[in-house]
């Protein structure tokens, strides 16, 4: 069993008691909600006429269903309008702070939590969305929950949970030009597998993570869940503190100094014991692209599509299923694969630094006439900041579409969808069958710079040749 890790410190700090089932009852320090997974939870509460236990520890926004072309109300999609109205009614009734589009603070829940300084080291953070692991970038324990659990947090501010094991993942070396946080996490998932993290929290460390910005750490922690790990985190350090300073909901002045003392205290200690340790090195890393139907089915851009025989017999059925769906041929080159759509956005890669990387490629270039390209900022604030830097101009002059903030084409609960078997170079997190809204649509996950280069070329290309 692990000991003296950040996971152990934060878990123990929030443990209320052990329940008769043997599960731990954990206090949830920050609860984030959105329109998709909360209405049924509020309905359960309202039916019983129960109040929320700690309404000031829940914050709401709207992201999954919001259209990104026009965000005018009422939304054209009546279902989207109904969901939004339900959220509005619930937050009003229970006095939950709500960052809607009129606040200029709306955005993808995992983008605005950190941006507003709500996300802080040492917290337990829950949200009815699996990518809540993103918040682990700050040295918090962030994890996705189901709707019944959302109702538990609303009513008690606690959850019944099983303690996880802790796997330390060291990534050493340095990221060279054209290689990004996205490549790091795709590599980790490729090596450990999509179910390798079941039952584990991932602690990320080593040279690469020490050097990373908060945006980069968020990209990696975001996709921990794609490797099966419900929680992924990085120990807080000066980079974390610097990011948080002067954020709206972060402690200010002397309180910030006090907070730093606490934040330092919860980090893993040198004598920490892990249930497992894995060490990787950037020597083996090149720009990564997924080729199949799980985020673990990825390959370097200069490789060929893997032959079926390369996989263990137990994996071959899935590999064949992937080839059948994706319509590629094993052993053909990855580079040059035609791309119909490019999506730059999602809670994985829609932050200002991601947009800058994409703009850096698109500057003074034109998007290929066969490639529809949409760029979707993660929040209204990022949209404003990007526009202040002129990034929007770079995108639109290149022929890409510049949209409003939301989840957009990551999961197609809004008008942004693939059509038929279109191939999409996407900076999102899931390449599942049908994920982007067409039951035959094909998703290739990659970094924003790789996606931008694919937009110009109209096919997959090695971004290192563009820098």
């Amino acid at each position: 069993m692990s000991s003296n890790t950040l996971f152990d410190h934060v878990w123990d700090l929030h443990k209320v008691t052990t329940l008769p089932t043997g599960q731990d009852q954990l206090f949830i320090g920050l609860h984030l909600i959105h329109e998709v997974t909360s209405p049924q939870a509020f309905a359960a509460l309202n039916e019983k006429k129960q109040p929320m236990a700690f309404p000031d520890r829940t914050f709401a926004t709207i992201d999954h269903i919001i259209p990104t072309l026009s965000q005018q109300r009422p939304f054209t999609d009546s279902q989207a309008e109904t969901m939004t109205e339900a959220l509005e009614k619930n937050v009003k009734q229970h006095k939950v702070r709500f960052f809607d589009t009129s606040t200029a603070k709306q955005g993808i829940v995992h983008v605005i939590g950190p941006e507003l300084g709500l996300t802080q080291p040492g917290m337990t953070i829950a949200c009815g969305d699996s990518h809540t692991s993103t918040h682990g970038a700050f040295g918090s324990l962030g994890f996705g929950i189901g709707t019944t659990e959302v109702s538990h947090v609303l009513e008690t501010q606690t959850l019944a949970l099983n303690r996880l094991k802790v796997r330390r993942i060291n990534f050493n070396g340095a990221l060279s030009k054209g290689i990004y946080a996205k490549d790091v996490i795709l590599k980790i998932i490729q090596v450990l597998g999509v179910k390798g993290g079941i039952g584990f929290a991932y602690e990320f460390g080593g040279d690469v993570f020490n050097a990373m910005t908060m945006d980069e750490r968020m990209t990696v922690c975001n996709m921990s869940i794609e490797g099966g790990a419900r929680i992924g985190y990085v120990n807080p350090d000066e980079t974390t503190f610097k990011y948080l300073e002067n954020r709206e909901f972060a402690p200010q002045g002397q309180a910030f100094e006090n907070a730093k003392t606490f934040w330092r205290s919860i980090a893993s200690k040198p004598d920490a014991i892990y249930d497992d340790t894995v060490t990787l090195h950037t020597d083996d890393l090149s720009p990564m692209v997924t080729w199949g139907i799980t985020p673990g089915q990825s390959i370097g851009i200069t490789d060929t599509f893997p032959s079926i025989e390369r996989f263990a017999p137990s994996e071959q059925a899935l590999v064949k299923e992937a080839y059948e769906y994706m319509k590629w041929k094993p052993n053909s080159t990855v580079m040059g694969t035609p791309v119909n759509v490019v999506f730059i956005g999602s809670c994985t890669n829609s932050r200002l630094s991601d947009l800058r990387e994409a703009a850096n490629i698109l500057k003074n270039k034109k998007v290929n006439s066969n490639t529809k390209t949409i760029v979707v900022p993660g929040s209204q604030r990022i949209k404003q900041e990007a526009e202040a830097e002129g990034l929007d101009k770079i995108f639109t002059e290149a022929g890409a579409e510049w949209r409003g903030a939301g989840c957009s084409m990551c999961l197609a609960m809004n008008p942004d969808k693939l059509i038929g078997d279109q191939v999409c170079a996407s900076t999102s997190n899931r390449n599942f069958i049908g994920r982007q809204g067409s039951s035959t649509g094909r998703t290739l996950l990659m970094s924003p710079a790789m996606a931008a280069a694919a937009a110009v070329k109209g096919q997959l290309t090695d971004v290192r040749d563009w820098l």
Binding site: H14, G122, K195, I433
Partner: protein, 200 residues
């Protein structure tokens, strides 16, 4: 209500890494109740774009009325959407038996009173083959003895112990347990440093 024993016929769903988007595509999540989720189970795998049925086990009358779903590894990976186990339960499945389950999915199943129990790969393969050969095969799961019985075969199932206890004691929806500790929760809120940084 205690959930100790289950009996029924089973549907053998081959395949690994079956994700929540496949179990229920995201466009069906745009409803503010779970009522109709059963209709949407595996929708894109079961139906063509014109809503005509595809060749899929869930459309095969021989498996109609099955209450056990037998799956492979990492079933339910992906999103935290409770709509996925809601769809499975509302369609009529009471038990899911697989090689392994995604963490959030398994927890959601527990919240709904649906045991997601595991067996080694070889046993899953045996079950798939036996059910395919005889779709009328009756399965009997006993969470007390941790045994699954199919004809003359006895399989030793595994399940996270706290979940097993919750099913046996009828506390699979944890709310009742959580609410008993109101005072301890208030005390915890007083102790957490970050809830008081702002305080003078």
């Amino acid at each position: 209500m205690k959930h100790i024993q289950f009996s029924g016929r089973a549907l053998p769903m081959r395949g690994d890494d079956i994700d929540t988007d496949r179990i229920i595509p995201a466009r069906f999540l745009k409803e503010i109740t779970f009522e109709k989720m059963g209709e949407y189970l595996f929708y894109d795998a079961r139906f063509n774009d014109d809503h005509s049925p595809k060749n899929h086990l869930l459309n095969d009358p021989i498996y109609k009325g099955s209450s056990f779903l037998i799956v492979g590894q990492n079933f339910g990976c992906g999103s935290s959407r409770e709509h996925a186990p809601q769809a499975i339960k509302r369609y009529g499945f009471d038990v899911i038996i697989g090689e392994s389950f995604a963490e959030i999915f398994a927890g959601n199943c527990k919240s709904l009173g649906v045991p997601a129990v595991t067996l080694p790969r070889a046993d899953i393969e045996t079950l798939w083959a036996e059910i395919e050969a005889n779709p009328q095969l009756m399965l009997h799961l006993n969470l007390e003895t941790k045994q699954l019985i199919a004809d003359d075969s006895v399989f030793e199932i595994d399940i996270v112990e706290s979940r097993r206890v919750a099913f046996l004691e009828g506390t699979w929806d944890s709310l009742g347990l959580l609410k008993q500790n109101k005072d301890l929760v208030q005390k915890k809120a007083q102790e957490l440093p970050y809830l008081h940084f702002g305080a003078k």
